[in-house]
Each structure stands twice: as structure tokens, then as C-alpha cells.
């Protein structure tokens, strides 16, 4: 045990002396390893972040896994009563204890800005929508119960909308007059939150609560450019449920809706109910598999190039070290010790280079400029630097070190001592 310990310490001392003496060569070869590890780690980390960005974008557009959409239409061409649909929807959510459910209605509201009245694209939703679609806010907050209970409709507007109003402080409860036009009074709505926009969006947009839109339209039909129920736009019904039970829920929700919408005389009365998934994970396969494979392939290629450079240098330099190895052998270094020392030297050096590479990668990936470039302001849960990328970088560096050290170490133990000394 004592011998093993002193051998280990001795090997580390030898390795350190070697690294110190040959620092220029070692540094040059390790720069290659550090760059390779940095590239590998960065590619893996960026891959993770890009995947997160893609996932968030998908979730914003079509919901998180598993998002079920319910739609119903009459085969006779008549509109289905929206009140009945709403009531059935509410019953279904209550019956299956579904927390995250929202109606979604695309509409437009006339909003007076200083530059004129603009028909602003509006999504009327229920409170859970914000969580279901990862709506991220830069100012204020998403609709609360207080907002839902308020007399004035609450609005969550996009950055463009907010800036057109002069970016007012939300704690001053800024308002807009929905539907006000040419001296005609509108409905006063309060802005409670602001969400960011991507670089390609140029028009104002906003969210409001479906119940408030409905109440507002009922009270003042003239304020709505497009009637929410039955007047052109159609409401979507969306629920976010655990993927494991989504298949089962689809069946029972369809059954319940079909039953509820049946004509009083019996039968379904020509009503077609569909319940379907639209989220990115609906097909079960990993939708980011191709991204992962491409990223992984590039990373492995980069690492192989780094390893090749190191092995190349190691093989060239081992020839120069034959004499030194012979001297050490003549003073009692066993073959195992020489093998271990040469390996240790390579592994210690590459681990150090790997650590530098990983640190450089963290600095590269986690700086605000890179985040903005990748996230485009749309990623709300910017993932921390993936630990697996850092671990992978260090493991790869160690593996490269061991691989690059193996060949010289094998050559080293085969050195004929006296020949080496007289060489």
C-alpha cells in the first residue's frame, strides 16, 4: 500500500517535471486539445440551448406536451351554440380535474394610438394559457384572479404595443380605449403586462381574457371588430394534460362532448367532435433527434481532429525521450512505472487543457451576446450551461489524453535501456 502511494506521488512528480521541462511543446499540443474540448463542449451546450429554444417556440405555438385541442362542428352547417360549448368545456375540466385548460379566440380590437387607430390582433384566452404556452413577460405580470374579477378588461400587450404608448410604467395602470374611434367612446382596458417580440414582428398584438372579451362584446357590440362567438371567429379549446394519460383523455373527452352536444331528440344530430394533439411531441419520436445527431457528429469530428493532433505530436516526441526513459529505467524505474508516468503526463496535461476548454466554452456560451443571438429574445427558460456538456468535455479530454499517452507509453516500456542510453 505504501509502495503504491509513493509510486503514485512519484509518478505525479515525474509527470509535473516533464510538463514543466517541455512546457512549450506541451502547451502547443494542448492548445489543440483545449480548442477541441472547447468546441466539443460549446457545440453540445449550444445544441442543448438551441433545442430548448426550438422547444419553447414549439410550445408557444402549439402548446406543451400533451396539449389536447377540442373542436366541434355541425354536419348540417349550423353553428354550434358557443354557450353550450363553453359549458361543456367547463364541465369537462371540472370532471377530470384538469388545471390547465384555456379557450383561445383569435380576434382584433380597434386601439387608438397617437398615430391613429390600429386593428390590433388579439387573442382572447383563459388564465392558464400563460403557463400552458410559456408566455414570458418583460413588464408586469400575466392575468391574475384580481384582473379576471375587475370591471375593466385587463390586457397583456406586446412590446410594440407598449412602446407605441410611450412605454408607460405599469404601476401607473396605463389604459387604452378599446373600440374608440372618431369621438366614439370605447371600453377602457388596463394594461397589466408586456411580453417581448421576436425581431421579425412589427405589429402590436395583445392578450385579453376570454370572459372579459365576451362581456365587453355583449355590453358594447360596436367595439369588436370581429365578434368572438358566432360572428366569424371560432373558439379553440385547449387543455394541457400529462402525456401518459392523454390518449385515454382524448377518448373520454370526445365521448363527453359528443354526448353533451347531442340534439335533445337523441343521437348526435350530425355533430362531429374531434379531440387531437398538436404539440411537437405528438408522434412520440424525439423531434430533435436530427438536431442531436448533427450536433453530436460535429462534436465527435472536432474531438477526433484534436486527438489526432495530440497523438501525432506525442509519437514524434517519444523518440526524443527514449534516452531519458532509458536513464530512468537504469535507476530503478519499473516498466509499469514508466508506462504509468508517460500515461499520467499525457492525462494530467489533457485534463488541464480540457478544464481550460470547458471554462472557455462556459464563457462563450453563457455571455449575454450569445444568449441574445440564439434566443432572439424568445427563450424564457434559458437553460444553464449543461452539466453533461462540461462532464463530456472533461471525459473526452481524459480519453484523448489516455489515447494519446498509450502509444508513447507502450513504446517507452519497450525501450532497451543500455541502447537507449548510448543512443
Amino acid at each position: 500500500m505504501k509502495r503504491a502511494f509513493t509510486s503514485l506521488v512519484g509518478a505525479v512528480v515525474e509527470a509535473w517535471q516533464e510538463l514543466r521541462v517541455h512546457r512549450t511543446r506541451v502547451l502547443l499540443s494542448l492548445i489543440g486539445v483545449a480548442v477541441a474540448v472547447c468546441s466539443l463542449t460549446t457545440v453540445v451546450a449550444l445544441g442543448g440551448i438551441v433545442q430548448q429554444a426550438n422547444q419553447e417556440l414549439s410550445e408557444r405555438q402549439s402548446g406543451r406536451p400533451a396539449s389536447l385541442f377540442v373542436s366541434a362542428f355541425s354536419n348540417q352547417g349550423t353553428a354550434i351554440d358557443s354557450a353550450t360549448m363553453d359549458a361543456t368545456w367547463a364541465e369537462t375540466l371540472a370532471r377530470y380535474d384538469i388545471t390547465y385548460g384555456s379557450r383561445v379566440l383569435q380576434t382584433a380590437q380597434a386601439v387608438p394610438f397617437t398615430t391613429g387607430v390600429v386593428d390590433v390582433q388579439t387573442q382572447a384566452v383563459d388564465q392558464p394559457y400563460g403557463e400552458m404556452h410559456r408566455v414570458r413577460l418583460t413588464e408586469g405580470e400575466w392575468f391574475t384572479d384580481d384582473d379576471a374579477a375587475g370591471l375593466a378588461p385587463a390586457l397583456v400587450v406586446n412590446q410594440i404595443f407598449w412602446e407605441r404608448l410611450g412605454s408607460p410604467e405599469l404601476r401607473t395602470h396605463p389604459t387604452v380605449e378599446l373600440g374608440a374611434q372618431g369621438g366614439r367612446p370605447g371600453t377602457t382596458a388596463v394594461i397589466v403586462g408586456v411580453y417581448p417580440v421576436s425581431s421579425y414582428e412589427t405589429e402590436p398584438a395583445m392578450f385579453m381574457l376570454a370572459d372579459q372579451l365576451s362581456a365587453m362584446t355583449a355590453a358594447r357590440p360596436s367595439v369588436a371588430v370581429q365578434d368572438p362567438y358566432g360572428g366569424g371567429g371560432s373558439t379553440q379549446y385547449e387543455m394541457w394534460v400529462p402525456p401518459a394519460i392523454s390518449e385515454q383523455l382524448m377518448e373520454v373527452v370526445k365521448r363527453d362532448f359528443t354526448s353533451a352536444l347531442a340534439t335533445p331528440g337523441g343521437g348526435t344530430g350530425g355533430v362531429q367532435v374531434d379531440v387531437y394533439r398538436q404539440d411537437y411531441a405528438q408522434y412520440g419520436d424525439d423531434p430533435f433527434l436530427v438536431t442531436k445527431l448533427v450536433v453530436g457528429g460535429i462534436a465527435v469530428l472536432v474531438l477526433l481532429l484534436g486527438a489526432l493532433g495530440l497523438v501525432n505530436i506525442a509519437l514524434v516526441t517519444v523518440k526524443q525521450r527514449v534516452r531519458e526513459i532509458g536513464i530512468r529505467r537504469s535507476f530503478g524505474a519499473t516498466a509499469g512505472r514508466v508506462f504509468f508516468s508517460v500515461m499520467m503526463e499525457s492525462v494530467v496535461a489533457t485534463i488541464a487543457a480540457g478544464a481550460v476548454g470547458v471554462i472557455a466554452s462556459v464563457l462563450l456560451v453563457q455571455n449575454p451576446w450569445t444568449m441574445d443571438l440564439i434566443g432572439q429574445g424568445l427563450v424564457s427558460d434559458f437553460p444553464p450551461f449543461p452539466a453533461e456538456a462540461a462532464v463530456l468535455g472533461l471525459v473526452a479530454a481524459t480519453a484523448v489524453g489516455a489515447l494519446a499517452g498509450l502509444l508513447p507509453a507502450l513504446v517507452a516500456v519497450r525501450v532497451k535501456v543500455i541502447d537507449a542510453i548510448r543512443y
Partner: protein
């Protein structure tokens, strides 16, 4: 009890596409503690091969090689390396100091393969040994900043730092001028005498060989006792 013994030792190699070549043939040699032995021979006479065997770096093709009366064949490779490290010190013609390491690090190098106190106190032991060979003021000098004589002194300190019982000197003055060579040999002699180590010097220089008590000649792989008077005369003629 003999320290090292060769009995009818033969060493044969088979060069590629050539018949077997006998380099050492029927060599008998006994080395006792405190012996002073010189072996002279021309280039190609088998001196290096004999040095390999004496230093436990090679094994005989036939015959018996023992260390401390134990057949060397019975040692494992690692055990042989450890015995060599602990019991045998080498002094080479070309000094063979490790470049880029200070004199102190060079002398401490063999102690990296030691155990216990010798390992942990290696710097102190190396410093003491350098003081002993008169290089206390050059401990932190790199080999390329030392003269030939100083380098050989460092090499001697390195070979003695683990207190070997056998010192193998392979042309120890071959790279030195006459005066420096003489003082280096005197140093090796003195240290060997003080520590009781046996000294085997392999050389082609009769003057160096003449310093030993027992003289051998190696010619075409055959080791014979040399005539001391003849060596002394050769040494006289050369000086």
C-alpha cells in the same frame, strides 16, 4: 556471500537473417562487497553486454547470474528493477543527466523510485550528496551550465544517492580531460571506499583500469584476468 556472481555465462543474439552471434562466452566473475574491479576491452568486445548483465538489465542466454546469491532469473521483472534501483548505481561516459532539470533534481531522480523516508526526504538527501561531491553551490544549475567535470560529479552523486552496494562505471572519464578524469575517478574511489560499495569500472583506458585492484580483459566475448604489471606499464606509457 558474493554480491554478484557470473558462472559460465553466455549471451547470444540472433541478428536478422544472420546466424546466431555469441557476444559473451563462458564468463566467470565474482564481485564481493568493497571490490575494485576494472574490465578493459576494445570496441565490440562485449563490454556493453557485460554491463547489461552486471546491471541486471539483461539476462544471460545460459549460465548462472546471481545477486546476493540468489539467481537473477528467480526475480520478476519489476523486482529486478527495484533491486537495480536500490543496490546498483550507474556512472555513464556521457553523464546522461536529464536536460531541463537542475543538478538537485537530477540527483533526486533515483529517489523517486525509492520508498519511505528516502522518497519523502529526497531533496534533503540529494542536497547532502551534492555537498559531498563538492557541488553544494551548483544545486540549482542546469546541466548545460555545468562543466564536463561538474556534470560527471552530478552523475556520480546521482548514482550514489540511494547508497548502492555496487557501482558500475561505464567509461566514466571518456568525455573528460586527463586531469578532470583523474579527479573524478578519485572521487568515485573515495565515495565507494567510504560506503563500502563494490566498484566495477569498464574502460578501454589502461590508466583508469590500473586504479582497480582486480583487472580483467574482455576480448571477443571471453573474460580473462589481466596482468596488473602489463596494465601498469601501459598506463605509464600513456601518461
Amino acid at each position: 556471500m558474493s554480491l554478484l556472481e557470473l558462472r559460465d555465462v553466455t549471451r547470444t543474439v540472433i541478428p536478422p537473417d544472420q546466424p546466431a552471434l555469441t557476444i559473451l562466452n563462458g564468463v566467470d566473475l565474482t564481485v564481493e562487497a568493497g571490490d575494485r574491479i576494472s574490465i578493459v576491452g576494445r570496441s565490440g568486445s562485449g563490454k556493453s553486454t557485460l554491463l547489461n548483465l552486471l546491471g541486471l538489465l539483461d539476462m544471460p542466454t545460459s549460465g548462472l547470474l546471481t545477486f546476493d546469491d540468489r539467481p537473477v532469473k528467480s526475480y520478476s521483472g519489476a523486482a529486478r528493477d527495484r533491486v537495480r534501483g536500490a543496490q546498483i548505481g550507474f556512472v555513464f561516459q556521457q553523464f546522461n543527466l536529464l536536460p531541463g532539470r537542475t543538478a538537485l533534481e537530477n540527483v533526486a531522480m533515483p529517489l523517486l523510485y525509492a520508498e519511505g523516508r528516502s522518497f519523502w526526504r529526497r531533496k534533503k538527501l540529494a542536497a547532502d550528496m551534492l555537498e559531498e561531491v563538492g557541488l553544494g553551490n551548483r544545486m540549482h544549475s542546469m546541466p548545460d551550465r555545468l562543466s564536463g567535470g561538474e556534470q560527471q560529479r552530478v552523475a556520480i552523486a546521482r548514482s550514489l544517492v540511494r547508497g548502492p552496494r555496487l557501482i558500475l562505471a561505464d567509461e566514466p572519464t571518456g568525455a573528460l580531460d586527463l586531469d578532470t578524469g583523474s579527479s573524478v575517478m578519485q572521487l568515485i574511489d573515495d565515495v565507494a571506499t567510504r560506503t563500502g560499495a563494490a566498484l566495477v569500472t569498464i574502460t578501454h583506458d589502461p590508466a583508469i583500469a590500473a586504479r582497480a585492484r582486480d583487472h580483467f580483459r574482455l576480448d571477443r566475448g571471453i573474460l580473462t584476468r589481466a596482468d596488473s604489471d602489463e596494465l601498469a606499464a601501459a598506463s605509464e606509457a600513456l601518461s
